[in-house]
Amino acid sequence: MILPALFFYLFAGVCVASAVMVIVSRNPVHSVLYLILAFVNASGLFVLMGAEFLGMMLIVVYVGAVAVLFLFVIMMLDVDFTELREGFLEYLPIGLVIGGIFLAELLLVAGGWVMKPDTAKQITAAIPTNVSNTEALGLVLYTKYIHYFQIAGMVLLVAMIGAIVLTLRHKAKVKRQDINVQNARTPELAMAVRKVASGQGLQDSDAAEWVK
């Protein structure tokens, strides 16, 4: 029983510490690396709770895609982070005050926390015991919750359209590959067979026709 508790405090402690480091470290690349560390620890917490699918997804999606994307953006864009950070200390006191009030209120709520006895019964999908996590999710995601799944798909479609609308620019001077034109190209279009008289070579007029 002591081992899970030990690992819980290990993961939770490292997670919180690296989350703090994300905002205090001076180098933005270090911030992203700390963020990755925080994600990995959070996924460890998920595994401890028996939600191994969520744990793995956290690593695949957040570490594998999101954090690496962050890293790319930070390395590619020339953003002066020290300048961005200038106001940080200035706003720190008021931030701490508001955060403190908020924390006190949350503790007040958590202190009065009484779980309704029938809460566990009311969970809409009973947790199956004989199947793995992933399978259990799959069983409801595409059947019982198909509508959520589909609407989430529409949200992602909007995100894709939005990204294209806001960033794609058709530049006039860029040469583009037109596959239809390429496929329609025939040897007659591309080649011209000339009988060259010996000792003369091609004439300039032939060359003009040849470069089509």
Partner: protein, 479 residues
């Protein structure tokens, strides 16, 4: 397998399915068709698609239909507001034709995004659990962020999109946090289940409710979550502003009403005090902050904040009359707003849009018809009888008085007097100042929208029966 198809009929979502598939088909059409007339064609077809969706919505069997295990609900309330949202979106697309005809902004995706946003609104209006609510809200908002920035070479438009996105993401976060607290304390995300579990207002539930309402207040731009509104309204292209002021407000107010009345009927006093505060603050800010405005779009932003305050007065009463008042209010508000924006869109001189209030000077002499209709719309927005806007306010204030909220009603009437000042200022500029010059002739689609909205406003008092009775039936379906 435990899953069965019972409770998963597709008939109630048929209009949404048609809209979703149609939007994707139009997207393909736009992507594969060569440029030129594509934008025009897609916009036209999008309006047709919206009309078709509205007709399908009306043809659904009467009564209360639920599907997807009770998480999607079609009742009279949903029908009324969906039709209103569809009208708002369709009219916006019609108002946008000129904006889209500019060669530099020929983006057919604009119509697709409006369609998908409308799909989000319909999901939101029909949502009967918290997950559906959130998905609908995100689908609606995400498309709105993009259309706000759709004039991407304009710094103000880009700023509007970014500001809206950042603050919208923050409000979504608050809403989700509230939803998770509510789920934690009740053990269900279903509105009916929450209503059954919440009999007394424990601190935790109220805490979750406050966060949920904060997220919703942001979407209806009620004080104190209104900061984004003036900047976004001013920065976004004018047709987009017309859109923001109409359809999304309908959907957000719909979900506001449904959540408070169907999920938390057990703790009315708890949310009533929140709504009373929000309503008073919105009405006061909408009236006082608008006085100093010089830009008509900013003025309309403050006007919409104030009007949302008036609508929330009806909701704060928590009764059938209150819900009916909200429905009548939002319907009349949409008509007034769309008409007003048709006027703002037609204010052009030498091809340049004019957005300052001083540009309206002497409009009564250069363009008497336009000035007359605009004056009527402004009188209506101010709530002067016998125009439609007066009846909108009448219903919400009567509901508030019947519920015993006298202070709220008195403050509402007082702020509407203050609000009348800035509407009357514009009328004074139009009728008594020296003309600033001729404006371009009004386009036919703007003229049609203005005529319909204006006639509805002026003659509403002659025959208010149909709208009021439909609103009453819709409000009753919630209780």
């Amino acid at each position: 397998m435990s899953f069965s198809s019972a409770g998963y009929q597709l008939l109630p979502v048929l209009p949404e399915l048609v809209l979703a598939v149609g939007a994707m088909a139009l997207l393909m059409l736009g992507a594969y068709r060569s440029e030129g007339t594509t934008t025009r064609l897609v916009t036209g077809l999008a309006v047709v698609l919206l009309v078709l969706t509205g007709v399908l919505e009306l043809m659904l069997p009467a009564g209360k239909l639920t599907t997807f295990g009770g998480s999607f609900i079609v009742d009279d309330f949903a029908r009324f507001l969906k039709i209103l949202a569809i009208i708002g979106s369709a009219v916006t697309l019609i108002l946008s034709t000129e904006f889209l005809s500019d060669p530099s902004r020929r983006i057919f995706e604009y119509s697709i995004l409006v369609l998908l946003s409308t799909l989000g609104m319909m999901v939101l209006i029909s949502a009967a659990d918290l997950i559906m609510l959130y998905l609908g809200l995100e689908l609606m908002s995400l498309a709105l962020y993009v259309v706000a920035a759709s004039n991407r070479d304009n710094a103000k438009s880009t700023e509007a999109g970014l500001k809206y996105f950042v603050l919208g993401a923050l409000s979504s976060g608050m809403l989700l946090y509230g939803a998770s607290l509510i789920y934690g304390f009740t053990g269900t995300v279903d509105f009916a289940g929450i209503a059954a579990a919440v009999k007394t207002g424990s601190v935790g539930i109220v805490f979750g409710l406050v966060f949920l309402l904060a997220g919703l207040c942001f979407k209806v731009s009620a004080v104190p979550f209104h900061m984004w509104t003036p900047d976004v309204y001013e920065g976004a292209p004018t047709p987009v502003t017309a859109f923001f002021a109409s359809a999304p407000k309908v959907a957000a107010l719909a979900v506001f009403t449904r959540v408070t009345l169907t999920a938390f009927p057990g703790i009315v006093p708890q949310w009533q005090q929140i709504l009373v505060f929000v309503a008073i603050a919105s009405m006061a800010l909408g009236s006082f902050a608008a006085i100093g405005q010089r830009n008509i779009k900013r003025l309309m932003a403050y006007s919409s904040i104030g009007h949302m305050g008036f609508a929330l007065v009806g909701l704060a009463s928590g009764t059938v009359e209150g819900a009916q008042g909200v429905l009548v209010y939002i319907a009349i508000y949409v008509a007034m707003t769309l008409g007003t924006f048709a006027v703002i869109l037609s204010m052009k001189r030498d091809g340049q849009p004019m957005e300052q209030i001083s540009d309206f000077a002497g409009l009564s002499r250069t363009n008497p018809m336009l000035a007359f209709f605009f004056a009527m719309l402004l009188f209506s927005l101010a709530g002067i009888p016998p125009l439609a806007g007066f009846f909108a306010k009448w219903y919400v204030f009567v509901a508030a008085i019947k519920a015993g909220l006298f202070t709220l009603a008195v403050i509402g009437v007082l702020t509407s007097v203050v609000g009348a000042f800035y509407y009357l200022t514009i009328i004074k500029v139009m009728y008594f100042d020296e003309p600033a010059g001729q404006i371009e002739p009004m386009r036919i689609e703007l003229r049609t929208v203005l005529a319909v909205a204006g006639i509805f406003n002026i003659f509403f008092f002659v025959y208010p029966g149909p709208l009021v009775s439909v609103a009453t039936a819709a409000a009753k379906s919630l209780f």
